[in-house]
Symmetry: C2
Subunit: 183 residues, 2 copies
Amino acid sequence: MELSAPLDAHLVSPHIPLQEDIDEYRRLSAEQAAGVAVVTTVWRGRDYAATVSAYLSVSYDPPTMLVSLYEGSRIAQAVAGSGLWALTLLTAEQKRDANWLASPGTPVEGLLSQIPFRRGPGTGCAILEGGLAYFEVSTTAVHEAATHLLVVGAVTAMGSQTTWQPGSSPLVHYAGDYRRLQA
Amino acid sequence: MELSAPLDAHLVSPHIPLQEDIDEYRRLSAEQAAGVAVVTTVWRGRDYAATVSAYLSVSYDPPTMLVSLYEGSRIAQAVAGSGLWALTLLTAEQKRDANWLASPGTPVEGLLSQIPFRRGPGTGCAILEGGLAYFEVSTTAVHEAATHLLVVGAVTAMGSQTTWQPGSSPLVHYAGDYRRLQA
């Protein structure tokens, strides 16, 4: 049912995007709701962890996941360097952990000293205690996309940790804030 | 704070995944909450549209998005063939449209005859009326990943349509159902 009145639109500058294009995209793309996870890896003997909302389940057969990471970040370097990583999907009760692991100034030493975790049997990566589910992944491809790396991998192990309870919710990021689902 | 008790884990068969691996992955990956969108394109003079929850904002500079589509689907063929596509992010009030465009048996003719839309100025693709925001995208790369295509593109135009109202929510897919955020 096509309507005739024109759409309001912001056209992106066709050659190099202007600051106003980037600002408008930042504002509008915040309208994407996304479940929050923590990506972890072990690289050169050290644990790395960061809060992410840009990850996907790509395929069921074989089980395949993707995480998008800012190429200039420590976590991108560590995940790409290691080739093995894990995702823990967070509940709404884990907002504090999400905030901590999203802050730009997290320390290299002692990053997980306040966060209970166990090591996954498939990768040795940290799996945060109390998440909804976790996945251990072995990288099969890394694609560059603008400022980011798209890291694709095969799931080698997985599990759930929390038994569902009435009123429980995944942690959801929307419009710059952490939210929960309506019960 | 590493805990010593071992994790419960389902290990995926290392060569070819077994049906039980795929079933367990399907069950656990449903724990990923995701905002719901509709991807549209025009290919060979015809409109295509499908409900998706596997899409990402990849980068702000330049504004870059990704959608993951089952390679054997009509929408994947059309999006890959056209090179131009659009995403409309849905509100919780658009559950009916999401259900319709997610059904496997949608007709090729008259797919959008009951859904109000306008054409985006950047691509000519259908933008569903009443969404939270929309993005028009020009494909820059297509990567194969297991059964899916990862279609990456540059945002050429964007806009918002709905003024925010108290109690409004994005449409969120979680655990096999459509949900909304707590107000």
